[in-house]
């Protein structure tokens, strides 16, 4: 793609992207005013965009339009969410904040129920069951896996799970006149768990570096392509 193939929007967008990218990269030299300006622009654009999306995708189609289009008794039904939403504004005024408390309690209660229920049913029970199934010999044979290797793998996962949990167990039984500390076997188990946790953190760090590296490559690739198109046009 050459310069002549670029439209005006592409050209302006490319130049802006190049400039903003270089300004953000300037942060590795040190903090500067231009970097902060670009940062503020990004935050403002994100906030404005989110406000537009919420208004366009939520408030208008799900809250206001049904009320405007409703007739008769249907108005009462679709107007209820709007009424409760308006009650939330009462939280801004301490004198009338109690009016918004029931609505807020409903929202928090539903959110907490969804979070707890999903965590227990969707994550906790299945993961416990999966850890137990690591030692299901029938399942191992059905999957045509090496039984010994599968048991070793399962043992490592089991030890890693238990020792990682033990690392976060800080409860001790205090005795008068003696130093309160975890028992020796618990300390050893916690040390093993710490090793597993360190390995996990190492993997996460490598992933973060890989993600950042990919983002950097994408930006540099975009810049080089744009510059190449500009140069190729002349």
């Amino acid at each position: 793609m050459s310069l002549f193939d670029l439209g005006a929007a592409d050209l302006i967008g490319g130049l802006l992207g190049l400039a903003v990218t270089l300004v953000v990269f300037s942060h590795f030299i040190g903090d500067n005013a231009v970097f902060r300006l670009v940062l503020h622009i990004f935050i403002g654009m994100s906030a404005g965009y989110i406000a537009v999306v919420v208004a366009y995708n939520v408030l208008w189609p799900k809250l206001l339009r049904p009320v405007l289009e409703a007739e008769g008794w249907e108005l009462l039904w679709v107007g209820l969410p709007l009424f409760f939403s308006l009650l939330l504004f009462a939280r801004l005024f301490p004198r009338y904040s109690i009016l918004g408390s029931p609505v807020l309690a409903f929202v928090v209660g539903v959110g907490a129920a969804a979070a707890v229920g999903g965590a227990v049913v969707g994550v906790l029970f299945p993961q416990v069951r999966a850890t137990i199934n690591l030692f299901d010999l029938d399942a191992i044979r059905q999957n045509q896996e090496n039984v010994n290797l599968a048991l070793v793998n399962g043992s490592i996962i089991l030890v890693g799970t238990i020792s990682s949990l033990a690392y976060f167990h800080f409860g001790v039984r205090g005795k008068a006149g003696s130093k309160t500390q975890r028992s020796t076997w618990m300390e050893w188990l916690a040390q093993v768990g710490q090793g597993f946790i360190v390995i996990a953190f190492g993997m996460i760090f490598a992933g973060i570096y890989a993600a950042a590296l990919a983002a950097l490559i994408e930006r540099l690739s975009s810049i080089t392509r744009f510059i190449y198109s500009l140069v190729a046009g002349f």
Partner: protein, 622 residues
């Protein structure tokens, strides 16, 4: 600690002290319960007074004053009756509180009584009483001897000797007082005044002054009982005239200051006068100055608390002090090292771009999670509805666009109907962007057909976890229209979709572990036979991996970052965006690995060198 101020020297003493520790002046008024001092007295106050009068051979004038209208000691009849004017005066001052009317006095003794009363009122009764004593006159001129005194001059002379003895013991006591360090000058002067006056009138008896009466020397706290027994054979009470008895100074302060009855029964228990009964108080009780309890202004704190308080004080003081800003170091070793690392990585990334030599060796072994995802998508038929949740922020589009583009390219090849949705506000725009990018990856005409929409963007899912659950259970109600506001569920492909399980495949693309887990939590219980594939960033892949390794699986496939995308492209034999990034990505990873190894080795070497030199790695001495 309660403190008592000495009324004489003005110095502070402990509240429990009986006498001033500096001037030995009495601090507490004499208020001794006779019953609490059985060893000293051993009998009732009346009896003690009676015995004491017998021993000294003179009547107790205080008892006499008390006895006016009260109890008269039984052992006192031998004492001659006092003169009428003294008796009248005594009655007046005890019954009328020193304000007797003229009619209360006897007419014959009215002038004398009036003079005495005026002297009392002037507060100089004690001095003048002795000054008016006819000791000198009794020797030189018998006519000057008062007529109202019934005794002969010879007897008066004898009585004057005895009185001189009395004055002698008082002077002895004064001399003892003067020996005490810090004696109040006021008190001594007060005593010296009347003593000096008395001495002027009795210069003929100076030879008697040096001799202390034996009975005074014998009086002590421990010898009272013995003296009581010896008093039987001592001076008889009748040897003292009544007028002298009436002029005893002991009665004076009691009269003036309204001393309570029974005061003569009190015995001094401290100081140089210990053991003497019926002493004059140094000050009337009402005049005893007592300072209010002075509480220490310094806190009683431990040493640790004091140190902590000092530290806290220093911190507070340092808060208000302006500290000079440290000089800004333009070039520091850390900054140089950071820039050097950045340049190395930039060089590693850009070198493949500007060089024809690229690291185009792709991994030969495809990970099982990528292979599983590819196989699932390969089974997707044409026009099968596939739900794609675009849950990443624009900042991660560089990585996730590359990863998701390969999967979308495969779905486009398969002809799947894409249903895009997001619980991130910026997600719908990201979805539109990635569909356009994926359509440009390979030679297919997926969305170039203007007559047929091959995908639909349902937009933003509001409500967080509850909204996600609502969408999973009833997507029609949750998102009835697409991002452009058009009805979304009128497409023939979407007609049969009532919940999330009706989709042929669900793909979640996210860089955030919480977002990824939320989809698993809220949708996996509803997904029965619909596979769930994750396209995730490399940083969240370790956290999603357990859901893939679990038995039964909660996630059926994972495509992670650029590496996963390259692997995925290899499974379908196509090269996408990730393949463009691969050379730079490879060299960047290699440079990072080299830096980590070199940096770790250098750090270990520095630590080893520092430990040999006995210093910490940071440059501080151990």
């Amino acid at each position: 600690m309660e403190i008592v101020i000495c009324p004489f020297c003005g110095k502070e003493n402990r509240a429990e002290d009986e006498t001033c520790q500096y001037c030995q002046a009495r601090l507490k008024p004499l208020r001794i319960d006779p019953e609490s001092q059985p060893g000293l007295i051993g009998q009732s106050p009346g009896e003690e007074s009676q015995v004491f009068s017998k021993k000294e051979g003179k009547p107790d004038s205080q008892d006499g004053l008390q006895a006016s209208g009260e109890v008269t000691p039984a052992g006192k009849p031998a004492v001659s009756e006092p003169s009428d004017w003294l008796t009248g005066f005594r009655n007046q001052i005890t019954t009328q509180d020193l304000t007797p009317g003229p009619e209360a006095l006897d007419d014959e003794r009215q002038p004398e009584a009036r003079d005495i009363r005026q002297d009392f009122e002037a507060g100089a009764m004690l001095d003048d009483a002795f000054r008016s004593l006819p000791f000198e006159n009794a020797r030189d001129n018998e006519e000057s001897y008062p007529e109202f005194l019934p005794d002969e001059p010879q007897k008066a002379e004898k009585v004057g000797d005895v009185a001189a003895d009395d004055l002698a013991w008082l002077r002895e006591l004064q001399s003892q007082y003067n020996e005490v360090d810090g004696l109040s000058s006021a008190a001594s002067k007060k005593d010296e005044g009347w003593l000096a006056a008395n001495e002027l009138s009795q210069d003929s008896q100076k030879r008697e002054d040096e001799r202390v009466p034996r009975w005074v020397g014998e009086i002590s706290a421990g010898s009272l009982d013995k003296q009581d027994s010896e008093a039987e054979g001592g001076l008889s009470a009748s040897e003292l005239p009544s007028w002298l008895d009436a002029t005893r100074p002991l009665a004076t302060p009691q009269i003036i200051f309204g001393m309570p009855s029974g005061y003569s029964d009190q015995v001094e228990i401290a100081g140089p006068l210990a053991g003497l009964p019926g002493l004059l108080p140094a000050e009337p009780e009402i005049a005893l100055g007592r300072k209010a309890a002075a509480y220490p202004t310094q806190l009683q704190v431990s040493e640790t608390n004091r140190i902590q308080a000092e530290i806290f004080d220093q911190v507070l003081q340092s808060e208000g002090q302006n500290r000079p800003l440290p000089d800004r170091v333009l070039v520091s070793s850390q900054k140089v090292m950071r820039m050097a690392f950045a340049l190395i990585i930039l060089f590693a990334i850009l070198a493949p771009v500007f060089s024809l030599q690229t690291l185009e060796r792709y991994p030969a072994i495809t990970p099982v999670e990528v292979l599983s995802a590819s196989q699932i998508i390969s089974r997707i038929g044409s026009e099968s509805p596939v739900l794609i949740a675009v849950e990443y922020e624009p900042g991660f589009s560089g990585e996730l666009d590359a990863a998701l583009a390969a999967v979308l390219d495969h779905l486009m090849i398969q002809g799947a109907f894409l249903v895009l949705v997001s619980s991130v506000p910026s997600g719908p725009m990201q979805a539109e962007h990635i569909v356009g990018v994926s359509n440009q990856v390979g030679p297919h005409q997926y969305i170039n057909s203007a007559s047929q929409k091959e995908y639909i963007n349902l937009g933003y899912i509001s409500g967080g976890l509850a909204g996600l659950r609502n969408f999973a259970e009833n997507p029609r109600l949750s998102n009835p229209s697409d991002i452009s506001g058009e009805p979304a569920w009128e497409n023939p492909v979407m007609v049969n979709i009532d919940d999330i399980n009706d989709f042929s495949l669900v793909i979640v693309a996210s860089e955030n572990h919480d977002k990824s887990r939320a989809w698993i939590e809220q949708t996996s219980p509803l997904l029965e036979d619909t596979p769930l594939i994750y396209v995730v960033s490399a940083q969240s892949e370790p956290l999603i991996r357990p859901f893939f390794d679990a038995t039964p699986q909660q996630v059926q496939g994972i495509v992670s970052g650029v590496i996963g995308s390259v692997h995925y492209g290899a499974t379908i034999g196509r090269q996408g965006i990730a393949h463009l990034y691969w050379p730079s990505f490879n060299s960047g990873l290699l440079a990072a690995a080299i830096l980590i190894v070199v940096g770790g080795g250098a750090n270990a070497l520095l630590a080893l060198t520092a430990s040999k030199n006995g210093r910490k790695p940071g440059g501080k001495s151990l």
